[in-house]
């Protein structure tokens, strides 16, 4: 099962490498990882996605907690949550009918075309990972040149929040 784990980390040198190292050391996979400072610049917020059963997820959360630099850790997938990922896709678009089809596809997925050349369209799309996967499938035959995904960011729904 897919897990989305949110971590508040001291914004210290070496902190991120400890998180990443932990996954390598314990044989867990990282599917996506995003890191950035928060409104409080002494903190970094990480969102990390991985696969695992309940037992494994529990161990991962406990192991992350054990790192000295981590302040808070939650497995968002335990409750309800919002998941967003940003994707940029460069697609070969030389012929008019492809351009038209692509445009309508982008509209359906509520994306934007953010760059255009005679040869290419670059599309920006945000949403949960499944939506982004679906878009890729939809445009796959048109000639994808490049895909960049930001990795998942997550936040819990409702009144719960992760803060120091």
């Amino acid at each position: 099962m897919k897990r989305i784990i949110s971590i508040l980390l001291e914004n210290e040198s070496g902190a991120l490498s400890r998180v990443v190292g932990l996954f390598a050391q314990r044989g867990y996979n990282i599917d996506t990882l995003t890191v950035a400072p928060t409104d409080d610049d002494t903190l970094s917020r990480l969102t990390l996605t991985t696969q695992g059963d309940d037992h494994m997820a529990e161990q991962i959360v406990k192991q992350l907690h054990k790192l000295i630099d981590t302040i808070k850790v939650v497995d968002l997938t335990v409750g309800s949550y919002i998941e967003r990922e940003l994707m940029l896709v460069k697609i070969k678009a030389t012929e008019n009918d492809i351009r038209a089809e692509l445009k309508s596809c982008v509209e359906i997925f509520r994306g934007h075309i953010v760059d255009v050349t005679p040869q290419t369209y670059t599309v920006q799309l945000a949403g949960d990972s499944e939506k982004l996967d679906a878009f890729i499938e939809a445009v796959r035959d048109m000639g994808i040149m490049e895909v960049v995904r930001s990795g998942v960011s997550g936040i819990s729904r409702g009144d719960k929040f992760l803060r120091v």
Partner: protein
Amino acid sequence: MELYSGGEILIRALKDAGIKNVWGYPGGAALHIYDALYRQEDVHHILVRHEQAAVHAADGYSRSTGEVGTALVTSGPGATNAITGIATAYMDSIPLVVISGQVPLTKIGQDAFQETDMVGVSRPIVKHSFLVTRAEDIAETIAKAYYIASTGRPGPVVVDIPKDVTDPSYKVPYSYPDQVKMRSYQPTDKGHRGQIKRAVKTLIQAKRPVIYAGGGVVLDNASEQLTALAQKLNFPVTNTLMGLGGYPGTDRQYLGMLGMHGTFEANTAMHHADVIFAIGARFDDRVTNDLDKFCPHATIIHVDVDPTSISKNIDAHIPIVGTCTSVLDEMNSLSEQMAIEPDAEAIAEWWVQLDQWRADKGIYTASRYEESSGNCIKPQDVIKMLYKITNGEAIITTDVGQHQMFAAQYYLFDKPRTWINSGGLGTMGFGLPAAMGCQLAFPDKAVACVTGEGSIQMNIQELSTCSQHNLPVKIINLNNAALGMVRQWQDMNYSSRYSESVYEDSLPDFVKLAEAYGHVGMKITHIDDLEEKMRECFAMKDRVVFMDIDVDRSEHVYPMQMPGGSMRDLWLNKTERT
């Protein structure tokens, strides 16, 4: 306001952290620090002969005293030499602070001379690490390092200090923090009260209970509380390799060590238990044998200060996160408050069964090996003699191999912190430097390093440190002329093909070697000489004595769990199994 250099600040901070002894080895990046050491008298430095030994010695010092051990090394090769020592301490949760010099900040990342990314290299084997970038931060970092190393589940902390941070020409004010507070690190202390209550109820209802106590009991100084609880309940106790001495080894309720080379009675009792009370132990694979076959009837209560240890290998029915001491204190007072008593009849019946197992196949009720005769000295008999001559009161360190297991089995430890061995990492070369650490801490006590001719050669250079710093440790070398434990596995699993486990007459003359270092050497080849010589050895209180004892080369360590089996599936000797 008085001003100090980074080097001076470091030494002052060590003093203010209560550190009296530092084990180390100098080099370029650490020279400002060494110069600051030279100009003061509060912190005593012990020069070793290899950085690995500095860390093991600090580790032995810590294990025997309960204090945090400290080592100081230079950058690059000094730092990498320390790595095995750090990994050893990490696996056994030993609180250490290892300070490493680093190339100047301005050179970091340039592949400078003797540059190693120490924080990076040590990352998977430390509890935490720091790279100090300003002299102003040294004191606080040192305070944090000792706090982190010694609280929660203890472990080694690395403090990497670039050379320019200790530069004597840059001076700043000094102040040592009164207390350390970290928002990201707040170790658990007391266990959940409701869970503890459930645990006590479960224990009281048990009919075939076993207390399975590990190194956490020793580390947290919880032996008294454990002993009180066990004796109040009249429950049997088994210790892990790391937990030896946590419960008195000569007590009637003690079943001996459990696990791969544990006793028949301890392993069999675990297998049949209806309640297992695991405290400060981590269900290591050298204990459990095949996880799927582990203790099929047991309700498991698991107390550990580290939540990641709980339900990692074996699911706990009643998990309790807390220190051994606080949880046992609570259990002791609860068991008094609660009106119910354990099921005396069931427990008595259980003891009949346990005593039967002991009598049938225990290693303490009869010799389960052929006794020594003439020139065939049994390693087990050497340990029994060591026990006799030291009245069971010595601090025993070991290396790794058969000799280690014989020592664990046949020297009965009544007190915690007297059995010092590398259990988790299994580091050959640990024994001698660890013994130095113990001897420094306890100058008047007998400290013996039980070793093998293989292991002792991994840090034999420390015989020189013993001379310089007057550390009269006793070395009991069970010389079987082979990497015995390797050979045992080759006997059992590889049809006695001794691939690279023998030395072809290349062993040194250990007597001469000891003498070359200015120590006393003894060679024992006949069982009749053993007692007298060993008495002589321990009578020389201010000398290092190296007893090189030829032991039976064909001996194996038994019992031994069979791979893929349950806890009770054991080889009892070369031909007999359960």
